[in-house]
Amino acid sequence: MSLASDVGAGATLAPAAERYRAPILARGVALVIAAGLVVAAQRLAAEPGGTRLALSLTFGALFGFVLQRSRFCFFCLWRDLLDRRDPRGALGVLTALAAGAAGYAVVFGGWLPDPSGARLPPDAHIGPVSPILALAGAAFGAGMTVSGSCISAHLYRLGEGSPTAPFALLGTALGFVLGFATWNDLYLAAISEAPVAWLPRHLGYGGTLALTLLVIGALAVPLLRLLPERETRPARVEPLRAVFVERWPAWLGGLAVGAIGTLAYLRVGPLGVTAEIGGRSRAAAASLGLLPDRLEGLDAFRGCATAVRDALLTPNGLFVGGLVLAAFAAALVAGQFRPALPGGGHVLRGLLGGLLLGWGAMTGLGCSVGTLLSGIMAGAVSGWVFAAAMLFGATATLLAGRRLRLLP
């Protein structure tokens, strides 16, 4: 039995029909969504103290648009590299990291002129580095392979009508509850005394940026050699088509992600997509009596905070909402909204993979966005550790799954 069908097919979509033009209805709906997002942001901004909420919605929508347009999906990009030796997606992620690291360094320098003391820059995602973090990263990577995407990609694919994404996100929420259940033991065993390692404290901002760019450059050189001789795109693409219909080159998506990451940190907070999912799961688990009475030390860590909030509208909730809606609108215009009825394989792989994604994101204090992207951009060692463990977990699961003929 093939559990694969369309799961994880995102990056390998055939080029959109050459002359594709979205139906009037699809374009109309997309326009209504875009207008609705603008009006909602305006109304939020008019409320006292609503600027943060309005900005969160706006950044979320921009992030969703960029993810959908460039198909910025960690698993698909990695699989493209492994299976087809196509390095473009991986180069896009490296571009995002380089651009974001430069942007963060500029912001940090203004906010915390002396990084050598005991202080850390406010709410940057700099987490504890322990074997548990590596375990969380590996579980997250395995979850990516099983479910076909990471959490942020499932969110934008929800907007594309993916039959797997709803189950993967449900599984993620359950994974969070599992993570809360195992947190106290792991915290006492290895996390409480783990160092919160921040490179600028030792190397300064300039040194950290230089090292980060050097590492990114060293990773990029072998990838650049794999680039095809010539791009197979037409000589001239209409600008509107290039933006709204054609898939963006991964490096462009990477630059946009780096820029959004920097601007979001400057005005609202580091990028992350799991705080809301985690916070709501925590509240639900608490009301069902499934939560430990105390989660030792959890709320004192940086990362995608899951502390229960009583507000209906939270910055991260609006960010995620904007992401999904903008991805939906973008998919409609590009002809990539292809809802499908879920089969048993979608449900099973979504739930199982989601469970691993959720456990990994809870235990790692964030996902491929909150811990990996926002961490590496901030000069956090935790970001690099999570990244390495995630790729290891994804690769090992893919190879094992194929050997057992469970994965395509």
Partner: protein, 315 residues
């Protein structure tokens, strides 16, 4: 423009109560002579070399993402306290902080912050113990009002020339200790305790506000204390009520300044807000009890009034 018109109208309506403050200058002209400065005054005096603006907020990242131009940042839980022992910042550490902030004895210091100036008022209480009293002002309405009026913000930290603030011992007459409070509870001393927590905390229905960890083992309040929640002293826009209204508010609870007052809450930080009002706005003799309920409510064998009868660990 509109906000200035509104301000003028407010001042006009407030005029009848102004004579109550016999020696207070007209608010619109020289608000800096009192304990508070208005947002309007501060914006006009941003460039004044005699004014140092200091933000004390509780939420991380608030200062960095936009503060009043020229303001320095002070972190209340590392800069203003001893992080290991439960105490206010030591004389040496305070002198270093004041020097870094460019504060001399004659500098006008304007404090402001998020959460209705709670932690800014706490900062004013710490500064006062190190002798910085009359030249320290709170921005009336705090961050909330400054932002609501859409006044300018800056993300760059100022570069301030260090001052030569000397190491001095903290005065003890602005701080109430456990023994002081216990003496009042046992009626050995004729002072008044003002508890500014919520009525539910005061009456012992709950031990801590919603979402805050219960750090005391007992519920209730110190016998003989009166309850005026801090929020009753504040208008909807975050500014303090007029001195006449404040006087009336506390008089209704029996506090009229005729006896020494001790302010208390859960950890002594919201109570600094009321301490600031009592001492600096109304001129009463008041001390802040920073041990507050987390010290008193955990002490062994002390008298407690527990109206609701809540017992920790079960009914």
């Amino acid at each position: 423009m509109l906000s200035r018109t509104v301000l003028a109208l407010l001042l006009a309506t407030a005029a009848p109560v102004l004579p109550a403050l016999a020696n207070a200058p007209p608010a619109a002209q020289a608000p800096h002579d009192g304990a508070l400065v208005s947002t309007e005054w501060l914006e006009k005096n941003l460039a004044s070399p005699k004014v140092r603006i200091v933000e004390v907020s509780v939420d991380p990242g608030v200062y960095e993402r936009g503060h009043i131009p020229g303001a320095s940042n002070v972190s209340w839980h590392t800069d203003l306290v001893e992080t290991v022992t439960r105490d206010i910042v030591s004389p040496e550490k305070f002198a270093a902080l004041a020097q870094r902030l460019g504060i001399d004895r004659d500098t006008t210091v304007v404090l402001y912050g998020d959460n209705n100036n709670w932690f800014a008022a706490w900062g004013a209480w710490v500064l006062a113990q190190y002798g910085l009293v009359d030249n320290v002002k709170l921005l009336d309405g705090g961050r909330k009002k400054w932002e609501a009026e859409k006044r300018p913000l800056d993300t760059r930290a100022p570069e301030v020339a260090a001052s030569k603030f000397p190491v001095t011992q903290a005065a003890s007459n602005l701080r109430a200790r456990f023994g002081d409070v216990l003496a009042v509870a046992k009626k050995e001393r004729d002072e008044q305790i003002l508890d500014i927590r919520s009525p539910d905390e005061f009456n012992g229905k709950i031990i801590a506000p919603a979402g805050i960890q219960e750090l005391a083992i007992r519920a209730g309040h110190i016998p003989g204390s009166v309850n005026v929640p801090w929020g009753k002293a504040v208008n909807a826009d975050g500014t303090l009520k007029s001195p006449a209204e404040l006087k009336k508010l506390y008089a209704e609870a029996g506090i009229d300044g005729s006896k020494p007052i001790i302010t208390s809450c859960r950890i002594g930080e919201r109570s600094s807000h009321s301490w600031f009002i009592l001492t600096r706005v109304l001129g009463y003799n008041a001390r802040n009890y920073d041990g507050s309920w987390t010290e008193y409510g955990n002490a062994v064998g002390v008298p407690i009034t527990n109206v609701a009868g809540t017992v920790w660990g079960g009914k």
